[in-house]
């Protein structure tokens, strides 16, 4: 750590010199601060020094080609056991995020909308969500919801993403269509009210109407304090979510950061020009 601390300072300074942090929130320090994050899976390094600061209320878009490390970053942030962090630090609300269990990260307000939501046969949505909501309440020192309070909450939140009541009575994601699974992710987000959400290709596999429902659902849930990382290949989700900052990830590093117009430029020109830009750097 000591050996690298000088590098950290330099990187931090470099980041703060960019005038892009025009977040809507009024928070003081950063909500999430990632410094020189290196991570690998099965011994293969995927993240090679990520630096990223997200303030309260900001929505950051993360773009990049397949294999650039976008999903790895989201998995590392939520503590997926298959990934090993080899270097760097992540602080969330001033706490060492990497030292927390996945469930405690969730309790602290981090939510991942999975790229591939998992089917869990035999576990009903009701039991699953009740366990999740009540464990979060326990963590916050609140009493568990009664059965009727809980079912009322389910009904209210379901309406936000227009999720069919029948789906809520089924096993978690079992037999759900691609669109229903993504809607179910946003429904769970509505139930858990996270302060920081990661949407990992939430738009993939969605038709135009489903995309609108999911994106509008997310916007309804958003408060001035809600921050998010939105991983996507396409502009159309960003049209709804209106990110404050757009990052391009290449080879495990953030190589370009810009405003919303950067996403539009990528939509038109692809990534090759950015690759060339990177290669021509000294």
């Amino acid at each position: 750590m000591d050996k690298d601390s000088k590098d950290y300072k330099e990187q931090m300074q470099a980041e703060h010199s960019t005038p892009l942090h025009t977040g809507r929130g009024k928070g003081e320090g950063p909500l999430l601060s990632i410094k020189d994050l290196h991570a690998s899976i099965n011994g293969k390094e995927i993240l090679k020094g990520i630096n990223l600061t997200i303030r309260e209320g900001e929505v950051h878009a993360l773009m990049g080609q397949n294999g650039a490390g976008k999903s790895t970053l989201s998995n590392v942030l939520v503590g997926h056991p298959a990934y090993e962090v080899t270097k760097g630090s992540v602080t969330f609300k001033g706490k060492d995020l990497l030292a927390m269990s996945p469930e405690d990260r969730a309790h602290e307000g981090i939510f991942l909308s999975f790229q591939h939501p998992v089917e869990i046969p035999g576990v009903s949505m009701v039991n699953f969500m009740r366990a999740a909501v009540n464990e979060q309440r326990k963590y916050k020192g609140q009493t568990a919801l009664t059965a009727s309070e809980f079912l009322k909450l389910m009904r209210e939140k379901r309406a936000i993403v227009e999720l069919d009541g029948k789906l809520a009575n089924r096993s978690v994601n079992e037999g759900f269509s691609g669109g229903e699974k993504k809607r179910n992710e946003i429904f769970q987000m509505a139930m858990l009210e996270p302060t920081f959400a990661i949407l990992d290709e939430t738009d993939s596999g969605l038709d135009v109407d489903a995309l609108r429902i999911v994106a509008e659902g997310f916007n309804k849930l958003r408060t001035p304090q809600t921050s998010a990382i939105v991983i996507t290949h396409y502009q159309r989700l960003l049209d709804y979510l209106k990110p404050d900052i757009v990052h391009v990830l290449l080879n495990g590093r953030i190589v370009k950061t810009g405003g919303p117009d950067l996403a539009q430029e990528i939509e038109q020109r692809g990534f090759d020009w950015i690759k060339k830009e990177v290669q021509t750097l000294p």
């Binding site: 056991p81 469930e103 998992v118 035999g122 858990l192």
Partner: protein
């Protein structure tokens, strides 16, 4: 017979001396030859007459070694070797099960009966059963209705094929008799609680005979408990005859102790268009070997056989099933699931035999198992023998771990790893519980299974055993 170490005066010790040749079978033969008169005196003629053949068979067979395919995963010899006491004098046991034991199934109105060791506990409930139905001591039934009992007793349980069955036939003195005459429907489920009770290491040999005549219907739940912290060795042979068009639900639930060894043989013979649902659940045990042998003898018979085991520590559960499709147009459906934790061992062998001419047989067998730790072991062996050409038979067996991606998904939602594991294990066995056709029992089992996974024994209200 001496009873030096016998505190209660109830038991007859076996004469087992280590280092002497002959293996553990010898002590039982010696016991029988010394105590035959006493055994017979406290039983009935119908039960006594097959003993001679049983002894001869037992002597010839001896206990199977682990080389025997049938007992590959359960070391019978070793389990029968220790010195257990027996209550061959059948002295009455000073306990009132109705006071001591109030484990019940909430919201399930049952006719409740008890068997302590092998003794049927009388209560004035008999008249609540429909006209002609008998649920009573097997010994009494054999004395009062010898022609009826002898027509069925020992006809399926072949002493020539299995040493444990031979041993049970040789020593069993009593048990339960259940008879439902032609066309009678027993609406109320019957719950039979078997309690093992002794002050010394103890052996029990129990016998159950179930007869459902043509068109009869009945549901029976048998719960096994062990009341004391001594070592128990319990053998049980159940023979069920299900007449044409009759319907039988038979559920067995074991909640004993880690010092209990259970050997149960269940034989079912089904006539045409009969419908049988068997459910065997091992919730808590020491060592359990269940052998189930179903004979589909009449066209259009249907058997649904499901089983479930939850085992941890060094618990051992071995289910051996045979479904014999003897005639055409029968269906069988078999589902067994195990959850093995710690150093537990599970075994499942499922044989489906489709005999020549048993056309249009439909048979499905599934065995799925979860090994929660690296040290848990599961042995599974599906076996299909088909001698007919127009049949539909399938089988599948898996042994696996909990789905890691599902675990992580739940943890990301804030569910602790422990809770997430419980939810997954609970979901896994839920499929078996849902095959049970008694709503109240199904609900009760969901609760008991949850408690079991949470490391609590099935505690219930007002029961001395659970305190």
């Amino acid at each position: 017979m001496n009873s030096n170490h016998n505190k209660s005066g109830l038991s007859t010790p076996l004469h087992y001396r280590e280092g002497q040749g002959g293996g553990s079978a010898t002590q039982y033969i010696e016991l029988f030859s010394q105590c035959e008169a006493m055994i017979c005196k406290h039983s009935a003629e119908v039960l006594n007459s097959p003993r001679a053949k049983a002894v001869a068979d037992f002597q010839r067979l001896g206990f199977p070694s682990r080389k025997a395919e049938m007992y590959k995963y359960t070391d019978v010899n070793k389990l029968f070797a220790p010195d257990y006491g027996l209550n061959l004098n059948r002295l009455s046991i000073p306990v009132n099960p109705y006071d001591a034991f109030r484990c019940d199934v909430p919201n399930m109105s049952t006719s409740l009966y008890f068997v302590i060791n092998d003794t049927f506990y009388k209560k004035e409930e008999q008249r609540l059963l429909p006209e002609g139905v008998m649920f009573c001591s097997l010994k009494e039934a054999a004395e009062q209705h010898p022609e009826l009992v002898s027509r069925y007793y020992g006809k399926q349980a072949d002493t020539g094929k299995d040493a444990v069955v031979a041993l049970n036939t040789m020593l069993a003195q009593d048990g339960v008799f259940f008879y439902v005459p032609k066309g009678v429907v027993v609406e109320k489920p019957i719950q039979l609680v078997n309690i093992l009770r002794a002050d010394v290491n103890f052996m029990v040999n129990r016998r159950v005979l179930i007869i459902l005549e043509e068109g009869a219907q009945a549901r029976l739940l048998m719960c096994d408990h062990a009341m004391d912290k001594v070592d128990f060795l319990a053998t049980q042979v159940i023979e069920a005859y299900v007449g044409a068009g009759a319907t039988l639900d038979l559920y067995e639930l074991e909640e004993t102790t880690t010092a209990t060894h259970r050997f149960s043989h269940l034989y079912v013979q089904q006539e045409a268009d009969s419908n049988v649902q068997l459910g065997g659940i091992t919730l808590h045990n020491g060592l359990t070997r269940n052998t189930t042998h179903v004979t589909l003898a009449g066209q259009g018979a249907h058997i649904s056989l499901s089983g479930m085991a939850i085992a941890d520590k060094r618990q051992h559960v071995d289910n051996h099933t045979v479904i014999d499709h003897q005639v055409s147009d029968c269906t069988s459906n078999e589902l067994f699931k195990y959850v093995l934790d710690d150093n537990a061992t599970g075994a499942f062998a499922g044989k489906v035999l489709v005999r020549e001419g048993a056309q249009h047989t439909s048979s499905e067998q599934t065995n799925r198992n979860l090994c929660v730790t690296r040290d848990a072991r599961m042995y599974t062996q599906p076996q299909l023998e088909i001698y007919a050409d127009d049949v539909k038979c399938s089988h599948g067996a898996t042994v696996g771990q909990l789905d890691e991606s599902a675990l992580f998904y739940m943890r990301q939602r804030g569910i602790s790893e422990k809770e997430a594991r419980l939810l997954l294990m609970f979901a896994f066995v839920g499929e078996v519980i849902d095959t049970i056709r008694l709503d109240a029992l199904r609900d009760r089992l969901h609760l008991l299974v949850e408690k079991r996974f949470r490391g609590e024994m099935g505690k219930c209200q007002g029961c001395t055993m659970c305190k």
